[in-house]
Symmetry: C2
Subunit: 489 residues, 2 copies
């Protein structure tokens, strides 16, 4: 398996910029070539969006971003690259020219074209080493959408497709191997069919851009975010499933419910009509505003699906599991309070007062208690065996406000750890050192079967007593033992 | 504007059952005719799904469900109905026969066909009162998806379309008026184009049902849940918007990226192939399991979009606002603690211990404090003017577990209300009377501009003092003034 340390990205548009974001997130250096003098600025804008989205997307420990830079030529970018990602315009002759420039300086790296639908066999024609050309077709925004279609051309070495499945999955993506080479692959053939019909509806004045989009986003689109058209219609058939659906709606396939396969001519007047309607549709929102809204929605949808363990949400959950596994907690120094939470506050934790909602302080202290539980061995496996700790009481002091994007950490002292009892004291700190809140929390060990208090397993109790004994030497924290409204001191 | 008290639903399949759910949710009695002896059982299954989804979807106060029943004939269902919803199979002759039976007993009610694409002009041909026939085309699951397409036939009285816009919006839906009558209307033309291409891909063995769906659900589908294809491509064009997109991808429209408009013949062998693949795709999950997963995902997606105030989420938020407005809080009896929260616990509030996560108790007490704030006039308008209360301290006792679907309420006593201070005591009760938790909470009045403590507006302070004076006569609640781990008594 080739380890990718440095990748060339040829073409710095929306797609190329998105690839740069995915690469540096994974710790892979990116070197970009794009003849557009504005390219560097545009990539920076994409990277800002990507960083903003990642902060909201996940609380998993992200690695350090790798560096990226512009190169003056294709050769400069490609030389020494372990992977070459091509994202230049959809014209075969431009792509061929770029590949020739790559091959002049790099004979080894896989060349992965981002083409939306040109056959890899056509792309690799004339290459010196055609076996290394694959299609890896992503979707905008590349830094958020998991789908990447992998397609081999007739001369592609199959081992590169196998390698790509692992590589793109490692980036947090969902590689879909399109086993049959066909123009437009799978996803864009489906999108293109819908897109052609949409253009006809607009062209024939049946509907405006706004109405065409409403007809998707308030209905079928909500289904397509989680199931495709096959599974959706499998359910539309009721108890008869897909067979029932085909019996019911099969006849409609003979009716003129679409206007394909020809397509309106893109005259200047028609392009203006489409462009004007799309501008009007977006009102005062420019592309950059809309991108942020789109990303917030995508993040929220993917998080929603993650909570249900489904589709794109499951891809995200698996990715996070790997991130957590890469950064295991070090064994703490028991002579001090130990770190139990280190995270960044997501945007949707803020409330109408413009700061982190009070209940989220409680959530972070709940996470801190989980950290203490893990430390004494009451971890996921332990819980799966039917035992856990329940919080019976908590006292929180809110000392400072916290905002979305703030890095915060909790450290925890064990005040009491014997028998069924675990009493903890948490401090929540901002990355700038400010104390944001404290929490004093009493937990009781329980059986998840009887839901009643019971003694912990001996090894958990032993570890808890060890930590409690070590922490007994620490001073009682300021604020411990306090009731609401009690005067300090 | 006609007030709808009773509606006939003709056809009790997936769509008819979904309409029954929407209707009774809105307090409209439904009378269903369906010749299938299994219809009543199937409708019950749909209603169970709908109830399950609504419990998860919203915390807004839902009204009482209206009753529904089966009728033995079309005439029995239609007689006296204020609205007739037709959801019978997609065959014009069946629909004509049903309309004739309706017209024999009911000359007034609007007849709303759920057809997916038959032209209303064809449907109303031969009717005695064709002016009252409209198309109101919903999407499965009808009880969750907001989209409903409204289409008039040549003889439809325009006032019925105007009425329908208001009526379906009142049900929490998004009415899309399809201004031009065309087969398949807008949404199904778009869906049908994609669906035909999907059938070809499967027919030609380019991809399996599973791969076809992955090509949507991990990529374009995540975009379509929030923006349609026009706005999506407007963004794919980068800074050039839709015009840039057309310049970039316009040429591809001339390439054979789709295979339409003809469609594979539905031979027995091909139906089996599609059906088999859809069965395999779903693994052990039957249609009923999949429906629940789909609904959970839809609920989560719509809630995610609601948090961002976008698309289907905005429709939901507007609907909830109306529900809240319909049920204003009565002026409380100040000689007693007053109700500040009444809600049902959503499924995603539970954690790995199988009960409501501790932080959500804090969230409900935060909501209870909002209730107390509203009572003293520190409401949304007040906050918009730049003043609010911040929690500085809370003490929570967790007395009993709570589970998803549990109805809970909070009542609140003002322990202290003078100057900048508001100290509250909340009790959280299960609907069965059990005390689940108590919370003692200190809030301080602040300026949202300076983020520092300041005096409340005089009218807020006066009201707070009035409530505090009334509550001063109440005994100090059990648990007030308590520190964590303190012995009772």
């Amino acid at each position: 398996m080739t380890t990718i340390r440095k990748a060339a990205v040829l073409g710095g548009g929306v797609i190329g910029g998105g690839w740069v974001a995915r690469l540096i997130e994974a710790g892979i250096e990116a070197v970009v070539y794009d003849p557009d003098p504005q390219a560097e600025r545009k990539i920076r804008a994409v990277l800002e969006n990507a960083e903003r989205a990642m902060l909201k997307l996940t609380l998993a420990p992200r690695g350090e971003l790798a560096p990226w830079r512009m190169a003056a030529t294709v050769a400069e970018a490609a030389e020494g690259a372990d992977l070459v990602i091509e994202a230049v315009p959809e014209r075969v002759e431009i792509k061929h020219k770029v590949y020739a420039e790559v091959e002049a300086v790099n004979a080894e790296a896989v060349i992965a074209s981002s083409t939306s639908g040109i056959m890899p066999t056509d792309l690799q024609a004339g290459m010196k080493h055609p076996g290394r050309l694959i299609v890896a077709h992503p979707f905008n925004p590349v830094y958020l959408l998991p789908l990447v279609e992998l397609v081999a051309g007739r001369e592609t070495d199959a081992k590169h497709i196998e390698w790509a499945k692992g590589f793109y999955a490692e980036l947090g993506m969902y590689p879909l191997h399109c086993r049959v080479e066909i123009e437009g692959f799978i996803s864009d053939r489906l999108q293109e069919a819908l897109w052609r019909e949409a253009l006809w509806l607009l062209h024939d004045d049946v509907a405006t851009a706004d109405e065409i989009d409403a007809a998707i986003a308030y209905g079928p689109g909500l289904r397509w975010a989680q199931m495709g058209t096959m599974q959706t219609f499998h359910l539309a058939g009721g108890e008869g499933g897909m067979r029932g659906m085909l019996a019911m709606f099969g006849p409609c396939l003979k009716w003129p419910w679409t206007k394909l396969m020809d397509v309106p001519e893109l005259t200047e007047a028609f392009v203006d009509k489409v462009g004007d309607q799309c501008d009007r549709q977006s009102g005062n929102l420019g592309p950059r505003d809309l991108e942020k809204i789109r990303d917030d929605n995508l993040v929220a949808i993917m998080q929603a699906l993650r909570a249900n363990g489904w589709g794109a949400g499951k891809v995200l959950a698996d990715y996070e599991t790997r991130l957590f596994a890469k950064k295991p907690a070090p064994a703490p120094d028991l002579s001090q309070p130990f770190e139990t939470v280190a995270t960044v506050i997501p945007a949707d934790w803020t409330d109408y007062n413009g700061h982190m909602n009070e209940s989220r302080y409680g959530q972070l202290f709940s996470d801190a208690a989980d950290g203490a539980m893990r430390l004494v061995g009451a971890d996921q496996d332990y819980i799966a065996k039917g035992m856990s700790y329940f919080t019976v009481e908590i006292h929180i002091r809110y000392l400072e406000e916290a905002n979305a994007g703030d890095a915060v950490r909790c450290v925890t002292q064990v005040l009491e750890g014997r028998g069924k009892k675990m009493r903890l004291f948490h401090w929540m700190y901002h990355a700038d050192g400010r104390l944001l809140a404290t929490g004093e929390q009493m937990l009781i060990h329980v059986s998840l079967e009887t839901r009643a208090a019971c003694d912990p397993a001996p090894e958990v109790l032993a570890k808890l007593e060890e930590v409690a004994a070590a922490h007994a030497a620490l001073p009682l924290p300021d604020g411990a033992g306090r009731a609401v409204g009690q005067k300090p001191g």
